[in-house]
């Protein structure tokens, strides 16, 4: 079944790429607007073989990781605080909703103004995206702590900080981890959009430069590298996640033997 699906997926991919290539070569679509797979592959190869891409990749990775880390830490800490202190959440609720309703793209120019054209403005943009994901998931995770488990911990003698360590944090962990998967994607978006709108380095910059000279091959090649980059990061996070959440039941594996 699994192998069959993989085979069909591969078949579909080959069909799409071959169809694209053939359509361009046959002149059904204009290579100026759509480029073609072989050109794109050649461009990607060129970037990596000349080493031109590494600087850009490194900058984007750095911005992504910084935005991811800062945004997650802020979001988890604030999520914990608001979930455990009802007064704080009641007071801050409308402010958080209002801030979250701002489309982040319009913040990019103002961040560039405040933090300059370098890494900091991209990180700031990424943080505004990542923060809310981590915040809402942590908040929800804490709110959904099983009250029986909580009561049990209290009866067993857990103090406030012990409750946090043995109940709240592990209980919220699966929420926080599922937010990490989303967050890493948002951190990349923050970095790339920031670069796209104004910078001198990074994958977003590369794509925006290519667009500026109507180099569609460059645009598509940038997108391919970006997609591979995100898939790789997501894979790393999911590995870490499954390592840390071994206790979680896998569907269909519920219940042991008597």
């Amino acid at each position: 079944m699994r192998a069959r699906v993989r085979l069909l997926q591969l078949g579909l991919l080959v069909f799409l790429i071959a169809g694209w290539e053939v359509s361009v070569r046959a002149g059904w679509v204009d290579a100026f607007f759509f480029s073609k797979p072989t050109d794109i592959a050649a461009r990607v190869w060129e970037w990596f073989s000349t080493g031109e891409i590494y600087g850009h990749l490194w900058i984007t990775l750095w911005e992504t990781l910084l935005a991811f880390l800062i945004g997650t830490v802020l979001g988890v800490v604030l999520g914990l605080w608001l979930a455990l202190v009802p007064t704080a959440s009641a007071v801050l609720d409308p402010f958080i909703k209002a801030l979250n309703s701002i489309p982040r793209v319009i913040l990019a120019p103002i961040f560039t103004l405040w933090f300059g054209l370098g890494v900091a403005s991209k990180v700031a943009l990424g943080v505004t995206l990542v923060f809310f994901v981590a915040f809402f998931n942590t908040y929800q995770g804490i709110k959904e702590v099983n009250p029986v488990v909580l009561a049990n911990a209290r009866m067993l003698g857990a103090s406030g900080s012990q409750l946090l360590r043995h109940v709240y944090l592990p209980s919220a962990a699966s929420w926080i981890f599922s937010s990490l998967r989303t967050s890493i994607g948002f951190a990349v978006i923050g970095a790339v959009v920031g670069e796209y709108l104004g910078s001198a380095m990074g994958l977003g910059y590369l794509i925006s430069q290519a667009e500026g000279v109507f180099d569609t091959t460059g645009v598509f090649a940038g997108m391919v590298v970006l997609a591979a980059f995100v898939v790789l990061l997501d894979w790393v996070v999911s590995r870490v996640e499954s390592r840390l959440l071994v206790w979680r039941p896998v569907p269909g594996q519920e219940g042991g033997t008597v």
């Binding site: 049990n152 067993l156 039941p249 033997t257 008597v258």
Partner: protein, 268 residues
């Protein structure tokens, strides 16, 4: 058979004493005017129709939710905050799903400052005592319902509480597992005779296990309507004792009262 236990109470300080206890949730009065005394080492079963506030009463005794009215005393001391003498076996799954069986059992001692290695040794001993040797590293989702209850029992008993509160602990188990667990509970209790408050809606279970069966009326405003001493010999086998004459006689007597309350609860 309607025992008041006055003789016992005057001799020793009761393990538990409730006077005029009431609990409200908003406008709903769950229990009202509950007077209950349990002597040290006494096994008291509380029966009543569904929704009669039996669990509410346990939560009050545990100190998880203070009563709206009335006094609770634990070994003569008024109860404020959590009840330090009590261990609580919950009705629903209460294990920490992110901890292994061993870590679950060791948690209580660790929270109380016992060094981790010593806590783990004691937990290992308790797990084998409840028949779970070899299952130390399983997570709760990898255990059956009966095994989870055993872990929960070990988790509570490792702290050797003087009072054991049990809220329909075996309600979700199949009949065979349940009788097995009941016998094991009796064997464990026989060792050091804790005071037990055992809530159930199963009268047979209550009689088979307890020294005393207390009957609650149908809610709202549940109160105690009957208090029966169970003078069946110990040690007991819960499956066999159900067939004895003494069991059937007391069962008939209590059921006469409980039946009315169950009917009233259903009529509502």
């Amino acid at each position: 058979m309607q025992a008041t236990l006055k003789e016992n109470v005057t001799q020793t300080i009761p393990a538990l004493s409730l006077q005029g206890v009431a609990q409200r949730f908003g406008n709903y009065v769950a229990v009202k005017g509950v007077d209950l005394v349990a002597a040290p080492g006494e096994f008291v079963a509380i029966v009543g129709p569904t929704g009669c506030g039996k669990s509410t009463l346990l939560n009050i005794v545990a100190g998880l939710k203070p009563p709206a009215e009335g006094r609770v005393e634990v070994f003569g001391e008024p109860l404020t905050g959590l009840n330090p003498a009590a261990g609580y076996l919950f009705q629903a799954d209460s294990l920490f799903p992110w901890k292994t069986a061993l870590e679950n059992v060791a948690l209580g001692p660790i929270l109380r400052g016992v060094p981790a290695s010593e806590a783990r040794d004691r937990a290992r001993a308790w797990l084998s005592k409840v028949g779970l040797k070899g299952f130390e590293d399983r997570y709760p989702h990898q255990l059956s319902g009966g095994m989870k209850k055993r872990v929960a029992l070990a988790q509570v008993l490792i702290l050797s509480p003087k009072i054991l509160l049990m809220d329909e602990p075996f309600g979700a188990l199949d009949v065979q597992t349940r009788q097995l667990m009941e016998n094991e509970l009796l064997a464990l209790w026989q060792e050091d005779k804790k005071t037990v408050l055992f809530v159930t809606h199963d009268l047979e279970e209550a009689i088979a296990l307890a020294d005393r069966v207390v009957v609650f009326s149908a809610g709202p405003a549940s109160r105690i309507v009957g208090d029966f001493k169970i003078e069946l010999p110990r040690p007991r086998d819960v499956a066999e004792i159900r067939l004895t004459e003494g069991f059937l006689k007391i069962h008939k007597e209590i059921w006469g009262l409980l039946r009315e309350e169950v009917m009233r609860a259903h009529a509502r």
